[in-house]
């Protein structure tokens, strides 16, 4: 029988406090506005047959996510802040808190500003806000584009942004962000576990760099926003493969992500859609005299989702989405066998209850076909499924979040 920690129960119970106080998390420090915000999310997931997202979901599993941030408006143009993040999702995160973001934001003009530090990456609709489930109708975002196990691959960069917003009377408003920086290593994330799923062993962290742009257009048509993102990554790491002791290095020669997306919201109705394609080529080099390239590998992963939701009342919302992910491998390091190994299709339906202004509860059903490919696990890891993977998965997710 699973145990729900008393601390989690207590924290969830404290969700009532902000609602009762109608308080705002801000203080005045030296004449400046200091804001403090936090969130806590507790979920339960149960699946048929396959274990998912590095949890023992076939037996029922709990997962937890939390964040705490502080920000200070130093001057009219300068803002600084930081956020801690923690999650316990089976083998993902394992309860180790870390710095989610911390940066200084200097806004020269409305059309140009600069940020420096660890910054959430604007890629597609929800990369930078994927952790805050209370912002979404869904208990789990469409995993075709927002796989919870691969969160750290794209969620943030350590570097800088240049950004701005340009508005016109009749053309709507246009915002842009150009960003570049390093990709932080995640020792408890799906990128590492995917390498291990192929028999690889890392001898250090997985380094990475990214550079990209994001554009969003708040169109003249009320409620319609469209956008596009383009990111170039470079990833590298050292290790061994299988039983061979030969030291190897892995380095991408091409890693490009393109995304186009749109949102339409009118009254109580909300719909969105996004298409994303990630193309990756890499070389595996033996770190011996001569440094021969022993293998070139590649993956093409087109994915998309579309969703719709309707708010029935102040307290309830219903919705559904279809999530579509395909993967095509070139010269994979492990054989791809079994059915459903080149796709994951997911149909989800959700009911969201806003119990108070600061407390939400979601009940969600998933009907999944396919399990992806080794190395591009997208939630289905052989480490968690030693008996083999079944081609379909049905899953129930219940998630409650409080935020302040």
């Amino acid at each position: 029988m699973m145990k729900v920690s008393a601390i989690t129960i207590g924290l969830l119970g404290s969700c009532l406090v902000p609602a009762l106080l109608h308080a705002q998390g801000s203080l005045t420090v030296g004449g400046r506005d200091l804001q403090i915000h936090w969130y806590l999310s507790q979920g339960f997931v149960s699946s048929t047959d396959n274990n998912y997202l590095r949890m023992q979901t076939s037996r029922g599993s709990l997962f937890t996510e939390a964040g705490l941030n502080v920000s200070l408006q130093m001057t009219h143009k300068l803002r600084v802040g930081a956020q801690l993040y923690d999650r316990y999702m089976g083998e993902l995160g394992k309860g180790q808190p870390h710095l989610d973001w911390a940066f200084a934001d200097y806004r020269l003009k409305d059309w140009i500003g600069l940020r420096g530090g660890k910054i959430k990456t604007p890629l597609g609709l929800y990369t930078d806000i994927q952790d805050q489930s209370f912002l979404h109708t869904w208990a789990l975002l469409p995993q075709s584009l927002y796989p919870a196990d691969l969160r750290s691959v794209s969620v943030a960069h350590v570097g800088g942004d240049i950004y701005g917003n340009i508005s016109s009377t009749r053309g709507g408003s246009f915002s842009y962000t150009g960003f570049a920086g390093s990709i932080p290593n995640d020792s408890r994330g799906g990128y590492r576990y995917g390498i291990e799923a192929q028999g690889g062993t890392l001898t250090g962290g997985a380094a990475g760099q990214m550079v990209g742009v994001d554009f969003r257009w708040d169109t003249p048509m009320s409620g319609l926003t469209a956008g596009a993102s383009l990111v170039y990554n470079h990833r590298s790491f050292n290790g061994t493969l299988g039983p061979s002791p030969v030291p190897l290095s892995y380095s991408t020669t091409r890693d490009r992500v393109t995304a186009i997306f749109g949102v339409y919201a009118r009254g109580n109705f909300h719909a969105d859609a996004e298409y994303r394609d990630q193309t990756r080529d890499a070389e595996i080099t033996a770190e011996i005299p001569g440094r021969p390239v022993i293998r070139t590998i590649g993956a093409d992963e087109p994915a998309w989702f579309s969703s719709a939701a309707y708010r029935l009342s102040k307290r309830a919302e219903v919705g559904g989405y279809y999530s579509h992910y395909r993967v095509k491998l070139t010269n994979p390091t492990v054989a791809v066998t079994g059915s459903g190994r080149d796709h994951i299709f997911d149909k989800a339906v959700t009911v969201r209850f806003d119990l108070t202004r600061f407390w939400a509860l979601k009940i969600e059903g998933h009907f999944m076909d396919g399990v992806g490919a080794p190395g591009q696990a997208h939630g289905f890891y052989p480490q968690d499924n030693p008996q083999g993977l079944q081609p379909t998965t049905h899953m129930l997710v219940i998630r409650t979040s409080c935020y302040f």
Binding site: Q35, N69, S71, K120, I129, S173, S222, A265, R315
Partner: protein
């Protein structure tokens, strides 16, 4: 049993359903804001925190009411979002560090008092509220 659960679910879903009633309002600003009128797109930019100044260079910050028909009408008309959607939007800024939660006030009187004493503040009150000590902006 099935009827009982259906009835309970229906009651739960509709227990606080209430239609939005349109309410007349005025846009007000601190006297440091020199303009006498503001466009809908400028107002939208201010309340979505994409604009920190108006066309004449006046620095502005948005201030909102916490609830009520005036709040509902203003938000829907000038941000294109529902009040819940706008709150969600502000939270997305807060939890990515790219913006702050704006000040919210419980009544017209509190709004006028805050705007009167806060340089750059821009807010809204019901059409019949006293606006002594603040500028009233025409939206066009």
């Amino acid at each position: 049993m099935k009827l009982a659960w259906t009835t309970l679910l229906g009651a739960l879903i509709f227990m606080t359903a209430s239609p939005v009633r349109a309410a007349a309002f005025k846009v007000i600003a601190h006297i440091s804001v020199k303009v006498s009128e503001v466009s809908p797109s400028e107002l939208k930019g201010v309340f979505l925190e994409t604009k920190t100044s108006l066309a004449d260079g006046s620095r502005v910050e948005p201030v909102l009411l916490k609830s009520g028909d005036v709040h509902d009408t203003f938000v829907r008309q000038y941000t294109g979002k529902t009040t819940g959607g706008l709150e969600n939007y502000y939270r997305s800024l807060v939890f990515t560090g790219k913006g702050a939660m704006p000040k919210t006030l419980a009544s017209d009187a509190e709004m006028v008092a805050y705007v009167k004493n806060t340089k750059g503040a821009i807010g809204y009150v019901s059409a019949g509220a006293s606006t002594e000590g603040v500028n009233v902006l025409e939206v066009k």
